[in-house]
């Protein structure tokens, strides 16, 4: 190799663990201009960049990184935004180690280029420059689009279709837009101001946002289709799973959705200034090993817990959470009880959870997901004291829309069926994508689905061909 390469990523400065577990501010500070340019110069500018294949929306990665290396940050962000309208979000929450960074050629010998951190840098740089310029929008087509759900998928469709001159209305059930980015992912990982800025930008472009509108109840899809030409369903996977084990309805046992919604959307961490309360447990067990579980565990710590355990039935290696989240959680002192499965919660006289019974597991043969299946070890049961339990074992799509839209085909888990090439559902004039189709997936996949559907929706609106 001609160029001498620094083997490791330029580290990103962050709040020290001792301080950050007592506040809600974002943990990493992001790169400075100098650090970003240094990291960008680690990129080899491959002729056949493998990283692009690792990116679900095929960002021109060496392209934007090259602009950063040269100090042309505006050009870098413009290049990013050709493919990704939410780079400030994705730079923070994408599982880069399973996507672009996993296949970066540097990984053969060294750490990959810190593509995520560079993406975040470019987006934050743009934000620091002040307001975004609103693009000139082509003359109105006279077509009306209804988007249901304002998560990353819905926002992507809205952005694409408003720029093509359609009239776009986005319906959201909750009182804030942003989907999981706002009600689920905590402030210390993704500052809400970033999401609201993107939403405000869409509103400035002309997107109409209707909050407090629960499609399936306030109006059905069929009722919307009376006044809109097309509908995009991006309602996510909001139905929390429980394990159906004894004691799950005791006081102090939460679903991750409830715990995070109280903390984030309702700002219970600011109680009593905000009215919504949350149990501030001292000894908290979070069940699960994904991003959701990490977010719950770290939230519990910030709410004042003395001991927080992640209880996960497989081993470290199988944890689906982003590497960075696991590192941050470990750094903050969260205890990982791996190969452990709760089988029962035990309550006190007032029906508050006080203990949980678990069983130890070992890894057996690989299952359908390719991961080794955890099997209980007979007689390994043990009981441990807890005062709060958060169940973060997964979620599936909310049935409200399928129940009120009989001609919409759904799969076994209640997920809406959509053609991966176009996003079309079984119901004419209806498209769907993101978590409502895939089950709990990722931000970037929801955005990718939105982009695919927007293209197909535009085609339909212009030609009338389904």
């Amino acid at each position: 190799m001609a160029k001498k390469i620094q083997p490791t990523k330029i580290p990103m400065r962050e709040q020290p663990a001792k301080e950050r577990i007592r506040n809600y501010a974002e943990v990493p500070y992001g790169y400075s201009e100098k650090e970003a340019m240094q990291e960008a110069s680690r990129c080899l500018q491959c002729k056949r960049p493998t990283c692009i294949q690792g990116c679900p929306v095929e960002i021109d990665i060496p392209g934007f990184i090259d602009f950063i290396a040269k100090g042309d940050f505006q050009a870098a962000i413009d290049r990013l935004k050709e493919k990704n309208i939410l780079p400030a979000v994705c730079g923070r929450v994408c599982p880069q180690e399973d996507q672009c960074e996993k296949v970066c050629v540097l990984t053969k010998k060294y750490e990959p280029v810190a593509i995520g951190r560079l993406e975040r840098f470019a987006a934050d740089w743009e934000r620091a420059q002040g307001s975004m310029s609103v693009p000139k929008i082509p003359s109105q087509t006279g077509k009306k689009v209804a988007i249901i759900g304002s998560g990353p998928g819905g926002l992507t469709v809205a952005g694409d279709l408003i720029k093509l001159g359609h009239a776009v209305t986005m319906f959201e059930a909750l009182h804030e837009p942003g989907g999981v980015l706002v009600y689920g992912i905590p402030e210390f990982r993704l500052p809400k101001a970033i999401v609201y800025r993107e939403v405000d930008y869409l509103i400035e472009c002309g997107v109409k946002l209707v909050l407090d509108f629960v499609v399936g109840k306030t109006a059905t899809i069929d009722q919307l289709l009376e006044s809109y030409d097309v509908v995009y369903i991006g309602t996510g996977a909001g139905l929390p799973w429980f394990m159906n084990i004894p004691g799950e309805n005791l006081n102090g046992v939460y679903s991750a959705n409830e715990y995070l919604t109280r903390a984030n959307l309702m700002k219970a961490y600011l109680f009593p200034e905000y009215d919504t309360p949350i149990v501030r447990g001292k000894s908290v067990a979070v069940i699960g090993g994904g991003n959701v579980a990490m977010d719950c565990a770290r939230t519990a710590l910030r709410l004042g817990a003395e001991q927080v355990h992640i209880v996960y039935r497989r081993s470290h290696k199988e944890m689906p959470a982003r590497l960075e989240e696991i590192h941050h959680a470990e750094g903050e002192g969260i205890i990982f009880d791996i190969l452990t499965l709760p089988i029962k919660y035990i309550g006190d006289k007032k029906s508050w959870v006080k203990e949980m019974e678990c069983i130890k597991m070992e890894l057996g043969e690989p299952d359908a997901s390719g991961r080794r299946r955890p099997v209980p070890i007979d007689g390994s049961n043990f009981v441990t004291p807890v005062d709060t339990v958060v169940c973060a074992i997964g979620q599936s799509p909310n049935p409200l829309i399928p129940q009120t839209t009989p001609d919409l085909k759904v799969g076994k888990w209640g997920n809406i069926e959509a053609d991966p090439e176009t996003g079309k559902t079984s119901k004419p004039r209806c498209w769907a994508g993101g978590d409502v189709v895939r089950g709990g997936a990722t931000v970037i996949l929801a955005m990718g689905d939105g982009r695919v559907a927007a293209r197909s929706m535009h085609e339909y609106l212009m030609t009338g061909k389904w």
């Binding site: 407090d212 309805n249 700002k267 009215d275 029906s351």
Partner: protein, 274 residues
Amino acid sequence: MYKVIERKQIVPNIHLLVVETEHIHKNAHAGEFVVVRADEKGERIPLNLVDWDERSVSMVFMEVGTSTSKLAALKPGDEIATLAGPLGKPTEKSEGKKIVCIGGCYGIGALNPVLRMFKANKNHVTTIIEARSDFLLYWRERLKEHSDELYEITRDGTRGVRGHINDFLVEHLKKSKVDLVYVQGCTYLTYLASETTRPFGIKTIVGLNPIMVDATGMCGVCRVTINGETKFGCVDGPEFDGHQVDWDNLLSRRKIYIREEVYSLSFYECERYG
């Protein structure tokens, strides 16, 4: 933001709230509710729909904690931060049945659309409203319009029949053939009524009021145990068969935040009155 058209105290601690909205009336049915949030820092709380038209919805609420105190302080022209609905499953329809409908505290108001629906479907409707004392009973004339007969019960005997709902109900069920009992009000009332009808084997539908947040099936805080199975109050209910409800579980789950609720109310009152 949603404009308040009217807010008035009907009887001590119980208020009528009318809020402007064009969205909700189109799909509204008896037995459904809305979620309201008084201001940007407020909690999302569920309230039954008591009436609706093209430009507004009405609720009746009892002032108990911070959220309802905030609502009780509203004046016409003020705005509330959230109003979403209609939510929940509508009351199951029946036709040509003999139905006894019971309401207490805010549940008296909540009976209004249900009686109207039952009556429109040619049922024979006997309405019973109850309160501690005469000065806490309201909407007698309004409910009578949709009832074949209406009884009032007060614990101190200052109006109507003196005593408790269970004594009156037992006497009534002994005398008349009843197909269905429907109850709206606090958990104690719904529980008491269900236990009273159980020996008679008469189907009893109760409106439950578990704690809620989103009220769209997203968080699961509203879970109730019905016939041994976990259901979400906001989307599977809020009305259930009273004979299948695990009352202990409901009562204890309603108390999860008691400490915080008391603290929150004193915090709010301090801020408001100094």
